[in-house]
Amino acid sequence: MAQQESARVRAEEEPLLSVENLQTAFFTDKETIRAVDGVSFDIRRGETVGIVGESGSGKSVTARSIMGLVDSPGRVLDGSSIRFDGEELTDKTEEQYRGIRGGEIAMVFQDPLTSLNPVYTVGNQIKEALRLHQGLRGAAATEEAIELLEAVGIPDASRRVTEYPHEFSGGMRQRAVIAMALACDPELLICDEPTTALDVTIQAQILELLDELQEERGLAIMFITHDMGVIAEVSDRVNVMYAGEIVESAPVEELFENPRHPYTQGLLRSIPGNQPGSERLETIEGDVPTPNEPATYCRFEPRCPKAFEECTRVHPASVEVNTGVDAEDHSAACLLYPEDVSQAEAVELHEQRNSEREVSER
């Protein structure tokens, strides 16, 4: 009941970030790699949206595209749309982007050691953001930097602010990076595997911190990880990515309870902790393919236990998997769905969706 209500509220409210048909490709001499291929999702204020997938599935490139950090030979293709707070980001010049990056949208990267500059003190690096976006300088900036470090739970902050990154432990560094990201009170925080390089006890601290900060500041968080446990813990809504596409999208509880896409099912089953006592782990055979051509088939088909003939011929579109009165907002890109029609009809529906999409792209 409560869930239904929240779903309705979700649908009514204007999203903070709305990504529509995002396509990012890297053009090399040898081939074109379509790292992100037609991804669409929304993030609303105060909500945490998780993006989960294996390495090479395009999670980080999605984040970098939103931040405008895709470098040559990569480029966001025409027809992609990223709307932030009503503004279209893909048309922005580099100059304009700089005002948004670190200001309204901030990002926390995976490895805190490489995202901090080793030759500047931590304080200096936080003050840089304050100077660029808020014009704070000198003692006022230092004061603010100390306050930020305290806000992310670093004790003895007035000493710490004068220290260099190598004097911080891994968890402290990630806290400092978060402090930096928060410096200008962003509305959206993109966390790209922020805890992957950390130990579980430190990971627990950082997740708790993000949770507190979100509550305090009403942040919207886009959380990228490959760890299903972390996703279950932090997100409200989950998008599962595979080979550059979102294959399933659902509220977190629904996804874990009732995964519909064969890939998500396989992913959840291959977690060792999920099957204590069982002799062998279930696996998904093979590796993630590199998407280097427009998809005219299902990219998961070679590894899919439920594949059938049409899978090699028809590219699945994202469809609602549940129909009915209390349908959750749950979609999957698989020819098996919708379930209430025959397989042939389902395939036809997917074909139809694809041609609609092609028409609209022209």
Binding site: I202, A204, Q205, A232, E257, I271
Partner: protein
């Protein structure tokens, strides 16, 4: 058929002890002439590994698990203690004897990207141990490599390819084939799957299990991912700061952890189930430096179940946390590197960034109601800090607020019928057992 294999592996596992480790210590950076303050990576560890079993070694980074693994197969030399391998102390071996023994113990490394030489073909990489130990003639070696490729699930035609042509999972398979080349009895697996994706990780874990059954291998499985350990290990040793905190059968430890550290570690793993309402103990701070471990129990600085002195039994939990953080800050400061100017200023008794103690006290105790008695001790400590006598300040606080946990290293208590041991003072009869004790912060 598979049943038979299983039975066989079980009978192997109940066999005799293969590796026995007694009071093993490995220190780094020893022997400075004046001020020898080594990194105590492994600090007095005892355990044994039975033939055919998988012993898991878990702990946070920097706790010494990799060093321990490397010391077991003599990639690091032990500072003291012994490693008995089939009864022979391998820390004493050298020269030809050592080389000969090395055939018996191999290692699979963590990062498949950096543990393979990019300039050698896969065949050369796997053949190298055979070449080094002059195994049979070259033709047979090549045949053996092809056989190994098949064993780990690669194709014979991969012989002439280079490592960069393989994915992470395949590279790890190459590393495993190399470790198996000389038919060792004992393999140290140093985080073999932590660099891999979940679905690939499962493939490698299954492969490792198959190989163990097929060749009767004994594994030391080092990992920080506890769910992997739960799946693959028969027994687990939990390490913290160079010490084994708890050691016992895997399921027992996961179902009912006895040691406070194990308990906190297990509670910190995020469950892949959004509806779970597991009670989490979030540990404060980070592990202390192994150069300067706490005097008593290694876990004392972060332990949520630390024993308090009798008279502070009923102190407000927030105040107690503040006191602990205060002590942590002082410890942290003594670890921080001081620049030459700072050292000079300190000698001259001038202000340094370390001497401003008022700020921290305001930050920590500002909104708390501090009883007069506690206040007096804090004042004394602060006075010492002002005079740049950090060690004195720490001593004042330790004497007043410390307990047996700060004073003595706990003994290894046997805590279950199956011989599980746990390294904690709370198993002494005069204190509440850790699993019956509610942490002060939860009250």
């Amino acid at each position: 058929m598979s049943e038979q294999v299983q039975q066989e592996s079980v009978s192997v596992a109940t066999g005799e002890t293969l590796v026995e480790v007694n009071e093993l210590k490995t220190y780094y950076d020893e022997g400075a002439i004046l001020d020898s303050n080594p990194v105590k990576a492994v600090d007095g560890v005892n355990f044994e590994i039975k033939r055919g079993e998988t012993l898991g070694l878990v702990g946070e980074s920097g706790c010494g698990k990799t060093t321990l693994g490397r010391t077991l197969i003599q990639l690091e030399s032990a500072t003291s203690g012994e490693v008995l391998f089939d009864g022979t102390d391998v820390t004493e071996l050298s020269g030809a004897e050592l080389k000969n023994w090395r055939r018996n113990s191999q290692m699979v490394f963590q990062d498949p990207e950096s543990s393979l030489n990019d300039r050698m073909t896969v065949g050369e990489i796997i053949r190298e141990p055979l070449d080094v130990h002059d195994w049979n003639d070259p033709k047979e070696r090549r045949a053996r490599v092809r056989e190994l490729l098949d064993v780990v699930g690669l194709q014979p035609e991969h012989y002439y390819r280079y490592p960069h042509q393989f994915s992470g999972g395949q590279r790890q398979r190459i590393g495993i084939a190399r470790a198996l080349a000389l038919e060792p009895e004992f393999v140290v697996l140093d985080e073999p799957v932590s660099a891999l994706d979940v679905s690939v990780q499962a493939q490698i874990l299954n492969l490792l299990e198959d190989l163990q059954d097929e060749f009767g291998l004994t594994y030391l499985f080092i990992a920080h991912d506890l769910s992997v350990v739960r799946h693959i290990c028969d027994r687990v040793a939990v390490m913290y700061l160079g010490n084994v905190m708890e050691l016992g059968a895997t399921e027992e430890i996961f179902q009912d952890p006895k040691n406070p550290y194990t308990h906190s570690l297990l509670s910190a793993i995020p469950e892949p189930d959004p509806t779970s309402d597991k009670e989490r103990i979030t540990l404060r701070g980070t592990p202390p430096s192994p150069r300067d471990p706490p005097k008593g129990c290694p876990f004392t600085t972060r332990c949520p179940m630390k024993i308090r002195p009798e008279k502070y039994q009923n102190v407000d939990p927030d105040l107690w946390v503040a006191i602990e953080v205060f002590r942590e800050v002082l410890r942290e400061r003594s670890r921080a590197e001081k620049t030459l100017t700072e050292q000079a200023k300190e000698l001259l008794g001038m202000e340094t960034r370390f001497s401003d103690i008022g700020e921290i006290r305001r930050e920590l105790f500002g909104d708390l109601d501090v009883p007069r008695e506690v206040e007096a001790h804090l004042d004394r400590a602060a006075e010492h800090v002002k005079n740049n006598e950090d060690a004195e300040a720490r001593k004042v606080l330790r004497d007043e607020f410390g307990s047996i946990c700060d004073a003595e290293n706990p003994a290894n208590h046997v805590v279950s019928d199956s011989g599980r041991i746990s390294h904690c003072h709370r198993h002494l009869p005069e204190y509440t057992e850790p699993d019956e004790f509610t942490p002060y912060t939860e009250r």
